[in-house]
């Protein structure tokens, strides 16, 4: 397989509402930043891969067709990926394969969501015959799973609050992050309203408008500090079947093991990771699911995952601070690449050379991961 380099990274300033731009304007903002970072223009791009979550979030069917011009895709191949919440990651994986397969030399990939165009809670809450209702949105679906993690692990309640505080403090260092809560504290998280027990208001992700774009290339293309893709992996499992372990899903751990094997590393070689954590408790849960630590909650409690801890997690502020759903996975992948390029600014992990990007979706059933490094593999 050919190597693949990330030579351009761009994202929007994320916000609850971006009424200043159309969907095309939003996507274009991220795309132009990525191209500028790569020092390329649209004529250098061979193909475009676009991802987003359900079209019902904006009410436009297959919006990539209307966006063909804004994406600079006219006359070129244009793919549209949709794998639920994991889609931002899956989209980057598809784009990577277009390079590693030898099909294309340079690929632009972009993921986005403009949640203010519609009501995500509505789009996530439809009921269908013969299927369990998920009418309480994503939080209602995941809260019982978190309860089961707490029961199994005996984790104290303040672990969730710690993640919420850490991620929001990291977000203060990220100029693109949506939520900025300068005075956040364990006390304010604890005092925030209970939404879905045990998830409190400040322990949940926001709804955001935003986009993220990457330029992938078979060579450095003049880039002095590319991030090299050392491995990608995707895994899926069914949502419902007897004995399914939703706390520690096998598709998630299989996906992690596959990406470590492809990169030829053990998880302890990672310098940092961006994990898809939409509710605070998912940080300790994914830490265990991805074989990063033995006890997720103890790692959080001991500050291991803090920005200057032994294994920093969600340096960007994470999904807890920015959540344009379709873009959220790609933002994780982009932050991993920023870190190994040494370009993460105030949220940079000193000397980061190997980083993991992770995304999940559906009922904890769809996974996408990549490992990027500062060295060419």
């Amino acid at each position: 397989m050919r190597p693949c380099a990330v030579i351009g990274i761009g994202q929007t300033h994320h916000a609850a509402k971006r009424p200043d731009v159309s969907m095309a304007g939003l996507v274009r903002e991220a795309v132009l930043r990525a191209l500028e970072d790569a020092g390329l223009d649209f004529s250098d791009i061979d193909a475009v891969v676009m991802g987003k979550a359900p079209d019902m979030f904006e009410g436009v069917v297959q919006p990539e067709l209307y966006l063909a011009g804004a994406l600079g895709a006219v006359g070129k191949p244009l793919l549209r990926v949709h794998t639920a919440g994991s889609v931002g990651g899956s989209t980057a994986v598809v784009a990577t394969k277009l390079i590693t397969s030898g099909v294309h030399e340079r690929v632009l990939t972009v993921a986005w969501e403009k949640q203010s165009e519609s009501n995500a809670m509505w789009a996530l809450s439809q009921q269908f015959p013969f299927q369990p209702p998920t009418t309480a949105g994503a939080g209602g679906y995941f809260a019982p799973v978190i309860q089961e993690y707490i029961r199994r692990s005996g984790a104290p309640a303040h672990v969730g609050w710690q993640v919420a505080v850490k991620d929001r403090q990291n977000a203060l260092k990220n100029p693109y992050a949506h939520l900025k809560i300068p005075d956040i504290s364990l006390e304010s998280v604890q005092a925030s309203p209970m939404l879905w027990d045990p998830i409190r208001y400040l322990e949940t992700c926001p709804s955001s408008d935003g986009a993220c774009a990457l330029v992938l290339s078979a060579d450095e293309a003049g880039c002095r500090d590319p991030a090299w893709v050392h491995g990608t992996a995707i895994r899926s499992e069914p949502m419902l079947f007897p004995d399914r372990d939703e706390v520690n899903p096998r598709a998630g751990s299989d996906c992690a093991r596959a990406v470590y094997a492809k990169a030829g590393i053990t998880p302890d070689q990672l310098d940092c990771a961006e994990l898809y954590v939409p509710f605070s408790w998912y940080e300790p849960m994914w830490l265990e699911n991805l074989d990063l630590v033995e006890s997720g909650w103890r790692a959080v409690d001991q500050g291991v995952t803090a920005l200057h801890g032994r294994l920093p997690i969600n340096m960007s502020g994470g999904v807890m601070s920015t959540n344009p759903i379709g873009a959220s996975g790609m933002i994780r992948f982009a932050e991993a690449a920023l870190q190994v390029r040494g370009r993460a600014g105030e949220h940079q992990v000193d000397g980061a050379r190997l980083a993991l990007g992770h995304a999940y979706g559906g009922g904890s059933q769809f996974y996408a991961t990549w490992i990027v490094g500062s060295e060419k593999p």
Binding site: P54, L65, L78, H82, T83, M239, F366
Partner: protein
């Protein structure tokens, strides 16, 4: 490029309204059928990719439960495009080019009976400048047909396309009778549009297998706004065809034509000579299931090669007025 072959193709025969299978059943039956033809089992599959559209199925994440149909346990490397399954097949072909896997399973499902296809197509239009005009896909198609007539085509040409397709599928049809039908959007008649159906289809790809070989596959997209395009042309179809190696030697072509007049545009874009047999299956006028029809065209072309054709071409389109096109060329192994 690595040689990739089509080892199995199965479909739930398209019907106007399929009340016998939900999408999980359809996926289970067709994927099992395609794997059986390929002489492979579920455990041999390295990668799965599917195509479907939430608005066609009337629900978000329509693909999520369909994963049950492939029995994704232990977990599978699996992905999904919100596009016709032909593009899922393209993604699977790319994955096989990476060289680290050998078998890919592709499926697609769709149901015209659950949605108003015209309404779904209207919602594809630019939400700021086009959709608010209230124009529907049929009216847009009529504008395209009118442009073709201004360039010399006639309503009789459109009727001939419909008649040829229906006759190929064994239906007795007379051009004069077709032309006597009322106009629904001048110059189009109801029969000028595809017959909307429900179905599911699956294809098994293998690196270096024994089935029909994909010797070229490519796709491209044109500008969205009709005002930015010459509606009598399909440059992205021509570009995809050229990138897929062209049509020299093609004996059979399976074209995806949501409207009869688009057959004329595509023949020119794909440079198909009179010698090429077009749509022996009857094409879109016999069955056109959203998100499935393209994968089924590729399946039909593979079947034609299995049955003796030296070289066959499958075409699929998406978006308003042939905006996006994919071409797949198959040859006997």
């Amino acid at each position: 490029m690595r040689r990739v072959t089509i080892e199995g193709f199965a479909e739930i025969p398209p019907v106007d309204r399929d009340l016998d299978h939900d999408e999980v059943e359809g996926v289970r039956i067709t994927t099992a059928g395609a794997l059986e033809q390929a002489g492979l089992g579920r455990d041999d599959v390295d990668f799965v990719c599917s195509g479907s559209c939430d608005y066609v199925m009337g629900r978000p994440f329509s693909f999520a439960m369909a994963v049950d149909g492939i029995g994704a346990w232990p977990p599978k490397a699996e992905s999904h495009v919100e596009m016709d399954g032909a593009w899922a097949l393209y993604e699977a072909w790319v994955a096989l080019q990476c060289g680290d896997i050998d078998v890919a399973l592709v499926y697609a499902f769709g149901r015209s009976s659950l949605c108003d296809v015209g309404e779904v197509e209207r919602m594809v239009l630019d939400p700021y400048t086009l959709a608010p005009l209230g124009i529907d896909s049929l009216s847009l198609a009529a504008l395209q047909a009118r442009s073709l007539m201004e360039a010399g085509a006639s309503e009789r040409d459109f009727a001939n396309v419909v008649a040829r397709n229906l006759r190929a599928a064994g239906e007795a049809v007379d051009v004069q009778t077709l032309l006597a039908a009322p106009l629904v959007r001048d110059p189009l008649r109801a029969h000028d549009g595809a017959r909307r159906t429900d179905s599911t289809a699956a294809i098994v790809l293998r690196a270096d297998g024994v089935g029909p070989a994909i010797t070229g596959i490519a796709h491209a997209v044109d500008a969205h706004h009709p005002g930015m395009r010459d509606l009598t042309r399909a440059p992205s179809a021509a570009a995809a065809c050229a990138a897929a190696g062209g049509t020299r030697g093609v004996e059979i072509a399976e074209l995806h034509t949501p409207y009869a007049h688009q057959d004329l545009i595509l023949r020119r874009a794909l440079d198909l000579s009179e010698a090429v047999q077009i749509n022996p299956t009857g094409g879109s006028f016999v069955a056109d299931t959203p998100m499935v029809t393209g994968l089924a065209r590729i399946g039909a072309a593979a079947r034609a090669v299995r049955e003796g054709a030296g070289k066959a071409l499958a075409h699929v389109t998406a978006g308003p007025l042939l905006q996006q096109n994919l071409v797949c060329v198959l040859e006997a192994s």
